[in-house]
């Protein structure tokens, strides 16, 4: 069976509204039993028995008509926010569309007067105790309380009492990654259900009752799951915020482009949020074949490596024992000269190279360097994709590089014993793969994404040159993930330094006779 190739594109909907459900159609065979039908706002739709009203609307992309706080397609149903109520003909009360099963012949109105009145009521209640501190809230601009209030809320509130204040939880650090502001909470309890049913770590609980109800950590370990960032994604208000992003950027300035996370072999789909080509955060993008709705914290924070001020973005050349910035043409000429003089040259491709780069380096290296170059790959975490394994039931993988299977497929073989043997070793990596064992005076040429700290940490001091390369989110290419799914991606930000693509380097080297 051939594995699917997915092109990662910017999704049309946000995660709240994405379930992966598709329209269903009755079997064209006249003997087959036709699927049941439901009428929503005057139109008839076929559905799969067992669907809730909300799921039918998801199938046909009508669901943005129905506001929701507690409902999330990736979690069990709670039915408590009462925002998604719809009018079902013949039902005495309004029904929550997230929990009411669709039935054959059911007639549903999602915008009737009664429904709109109920939604206005819910908004009126939710806003009574909300601090309305939007000007200093990081969620502003992508907040469901703002959005739904604009659409359904009362224009003014009659609440004249003192607002509820959780004095101990106004800025409560739940972990080194997430901060809670309980005053903003609308008690949808998505976060509690996420830790109960998705990560199954049960680290969050609600304590107390009624209007005192407060989110807290379950025990002394605090918030400790590996997917805490997701809490801040689906928190409909600014109650849970991602420490890295707090007070960094107003959300409406962010430029949002789809890309892929290269922090492990899962290849979670992400959206890169940047402004002026500076990345502020990664958020997951729904892909039912790869990551569902979620991504891990390790991947979410991995943009920090690319935004690291110590990342080398200028070509460096060894000048009397110290690495000095110079022009790319000078570096490439020197590299080619050293390679020609060496008795043997090895090119080690990190498994974080794209499939295209791996193929290019395998086929064109000897031509480019004007001599025979042996090409191997090196992972640094595992020897080959066969050793890769899941770290938990959700997404995290042991292989912390994104394309081991793709590099193997390109025909490269792993470095024997993880050791290098040639006179000159060229290390090509995108900032994720490990470095092979080097001897103390091994001559190396570094290529790709490196930080000064990584260069300093090398056992050898004999670095001949450094050719800066583009990081995953800055270039085009494709990865084959641990499950064999090939995912194509496009640049999410433009590189603002002196790094160039591998294709360009190979082209320049080949032209440089």
């Amino acid at each position: 069976m051939s594995n699917p190739t997915i092109e990662i594109k910017k999704p049309k909907e946000d995660l709240n509204y994405t379930s992966g459900l598709r329209p269903v159609h009755s079997d064209s065979n006249p003997d087959a039993k036709p699927l049941p039908k439901i009428t929503i706002d005057g139109k008839q739709f076929e559905f799969k028995p067992g669907d809730t009203i909300m799921q039918v609307t998801e199938r046909y992309k009508l669901h943005e008509e129905i506001p929701r706080y507690c409902y999330h397609p990736g979690m069990p149903i709670a039915g408590t926010c009462r925002m998604c109520t719809v009018e079902v003909e013949k039902a005495p009360k309004l029904m929550t569309s997230c929990s009411t099963p669709a039935a054959d012949g059911m007639v549903v109105h999602t915008k009737s007067e009664k429904v709109m009145k109920s939604r206005t009521g819910v908004m009126d209640f939710l806003l009574t105790n909300h601090p309305l501190d939007c000007p200093v809230c990081d969620k502003a601009g992508e907040c469901k309380l703002q959005d739904y209030n604009f659409e359904y809320g009362p224009s003014k509130s009659n609440f004249k009492e003192e607002k509820r204040v959780f004095e101990n939880a106004t800025t409560k650090v739940l972990s080194d990654k997430v901060t809670l502001n309980m005053n903003r909470c609308v008690h949808c309890e998505r976060c509690v259900r996420f830790t109960d049913d998705v990560t199954k770590t049960n680290d969050l609980v609600m304590v107390n009752r009624g209007w005192h109800k407060e989110l807290d950590v379950a025990d002394e370990r605090g918030l400790h799951n590996d997917y805490q960032g997701c809490l801040t994604d689906f928190c409909p208000v600014g109650a849970l915020t991602w420490n890295d992003f707090r007070f960094q950027k107003r959300s409406w300035f962010l430029d949002k482009k789809a890309s892929i996370c290269d922090r492990c072999s899962k290849g979670c789909n992400i959206e890169v949020h940047s402004d002026k080509d500076i990345v502020y955060r990664y958020v997951p993008v729904f892909n039912e074949l790869v990551n569902g709705h979620w991504m891990c914290d390790e991947g979410r924070s991995s943009f920090q490596d690319l935004m690291n001020p110590k990342r080398v973005i200028s070509p460096l050349l060894n000048h009397n024992g110290s690495l000095t910035a110079t022009s790319l043409a000078t570096v490439l000429a020197e590299v080619k000269k050293s390679a020609a003089a060496a008795s043997s040259v090895q090119l080690i491709v990190g498994t974080d190279a794209t499939r295209e780069e791996a193929a290019l380096l395998k086929d064109k290296s000897s031509l480019a360097f004007g001599r025979s170059v042996t090409v191997h790959f090196h992972n640094g975490f595992i020897r080959s994709s066969g050793e890769d394994k899941k770290l938990d039931a959700l997404l995290r993988m042991a292989d912390k590089t994104p394309n081991t299977r793709g590099v193997e497929e390109a025909g490269l073989t792993p470095l024997a014993n993880g050791e290098v043997s040639a006179d000159i070793v060229i290390l090509f990596r995108n900032g994720r793969a490990g470095t092979p064992k080097l001897s103390a005076n091994q001559k190396v040429i570094l290529w790709g994404v490196w930080t000064l700290d990584e260069v300093k940490a090398l056992p050898t001091t004999n670095v001949l040159a450094l050719i800066p390369g583009l990081a995953t989110i800055e270039k085009e290419g494709s990865f084959k993930n641990a499950d064999g799914i090939v995912q194509k991606f496009h640049p999410a930000i433009e590189h603002r330094g002196g790094a160039v693509s591998a294709h360009q380097v190979i082209g320049l080297l080949t032209a440089n006779k």
Partner: protein
């Protein structure tokens, strides 16, 4: 007293004033105890259910759902996904928390075996071998008495294996709640029983399909179970005849407030509220002003509306409900706004906090009433109370939000004059009531 009802006789409380009435020996000797169980075990389960159905026994916890019908909803042979049989559970709801209600406590302390016998019969009827008695945690003495009663019943072989040689096994255990009003709601009770937060569950699925520990379960009130032995022993006709058309038997009415003889009265349902107040010694300390007929959640009635019978349907027609039988009598010294605030304070504290409307609305109403009492109210507030109530009622998972709107809405509708007086004259101080309940409450609230 015949209460204008020739068929009436006490079903549950014939001997509760006799010393020693709570013992098993008394129950066996004087009250024909466990004879109904022996009789029921000779009947087929379906026949027992049919008997209860025909008796028109309705749930005494508050909602008044026909008990026989509830029992008939239990699946006969439930199996799990692998085809293995599932156990069924019978649960007794003894989380009596409705303000103004104290009838279950009387049954627990005076005639516990009647309830135990009713539960065993119920277990036989629905095919359950395991029952739970969910008791509110504050009832230390009652828990002790019930445990004693259970131990006695086990010792005599009324509980345990092969009861009366019929081959029917039934075990009954006590589970102590942790003191939440909402755990009287049957699905919140089941959550609490499982050790989870006491929050009502989304329905469907109903407990008859997915109840305690995911198994089919049936939850009934203490008084409901206590009525079952009589029905089996004396026959459904006699029980049904005592009440009006669609509700059989007697009711335990808990009369409290401004009456001379407050307490639990077992009465037929053809009596009016005025008649019940007469039986309880008449209004004390002033003229009758208002009555809450079915526990705090029932909308209150003005004195001129009290000529209404206390069966489920008549009270429903009068715009209130029979509820749990807690009849709270208020005389004309009571300030209705203050009294309602006391109730709202309770609801604000007891809302489980799941649903938006209930969590925020109960808080809002309580604060608003407080502000009106303190002299900060406006005429707009009075109109807005009905609006808040309209946004709450019928919009949530359980009936708690409706319960909050009961006193809030009825007070402002029926006693608007008192609200306006507080608004125009600057609160309780303005009308010369300094030693107010609300001030004491505010001081006590931490």
């Amino acid at each position: 007293m015949n209460y204008n009802n020739e068929h009436f006789e006490p079903v549950i409380t014939p001997n509760v004033t006799v010393p020693g009435c709570e013992t098993l020996a008394f129950y066996l000797e004087k009250e024909n105890g466990y004879k109904a169980l022996e009789k029921a075990l000779k009947m087929k389960p379906a026949e027992v259910v049919e008997e209860v159905k025909k008796s028109n026994l309705r749930g005494r916890g508050g909602a008044g759902f026909p008990t026989g019908m509830k029992w008939s909803f239990m699946p006969s042979n439930p199996v799990d996904a692998n085809g293995n049989p599932k156990p069924k559970y019978l649960v007794c709801n003894a989380d009596e928390g409705e303000p103004g209600t104290f009838k279950d406590r009387l049954i627990f302390t005076k005639t516990p075996h009647r309830m135990i016998e009713g539960m065993i019969i119920g277990g036989h009827a629905i095919g359950s071998n395991k029952g739970f008695v969910y008791i509110r945690g504050e009832w230390h003495k009652e828990i002790r008495l019930m445990q004693k009663a259970l131990d006695d019943a086990y010792a005599k072989g009324f509980l345990g294996k092969n009861i009366f040689g019929s081959g029917f096994d039934f075990d009954l255990v006590i589970y102590k709640g942790a003191g939440a009003y909402i755990c009287g709601e049957e699905t919140a009770l089941l959550n609490s029983l499982e050790g989870k937060r006491g929050e009502p569950r989304l329905k469907p699925p109903f407990p008859a399909q997915v109840g305690a520990y995911g198994m089919p379960s049936c939850v009934n009130n203490v008084e409901t179970f206590a009525a079952v032995p009589y029905i089996i022993d004396k026959g459904w006709e006699r029980y049904a005849k005592m009440g009006p058309e669609r509700s059989g038997g007697t009711r335990l009415i808990c009369v409290s407030g401004h009456v001379h003889k407050p307490g639990v009265y077992e009465l037929p349902m053809n009596l009016t509220i005025n008649e019940i107040i007469e039986i309880a010694g008449g209004t004390k300390g002033g003229r009758l002003k208002a009555v809450i007929p079915g526990g705090a959640s029932a909308p209150m009635l003005r004195a001129d509306e009290c000529d209404v019978k206390t069966d489920y349907d008549s009270l429903m027609k009068a715009g209130t409900m029979a509820g749990s039988g807690g009849l709270i009598v208020m005389n004309d010294t009571v300030n209705i706004v203050e009294a309602t605030y006391t109730l709202l304070k309770f609801y604000e504290h007891e809302s489980c906090g799941q649903c938006s409307q209930c969590r925020e609305g109960s808080h809002w109403l309580a604060r608003m009433f407080k502000r009106i009492l303190d002299g900060g109210g406006t005429h707009d507030d009075l109109d807005y109370i009905s609006k808040i109530c309209a946004n709450m009622a019928g919009q949530t998972i359980c009936a708690f939000a409706d319960a909050v709107t009961g006193p809030a809405l009825s007070s402002v509708r029926k006693f608007r004059g008192e609200f306006e007086e507080l608004v125009t004259r600057g609160g309780l101080k303005g009308i010369g009531r300094h030693e107010s309940v609300s001030h004491k409450l505010a001081g006590a609230h931490v």
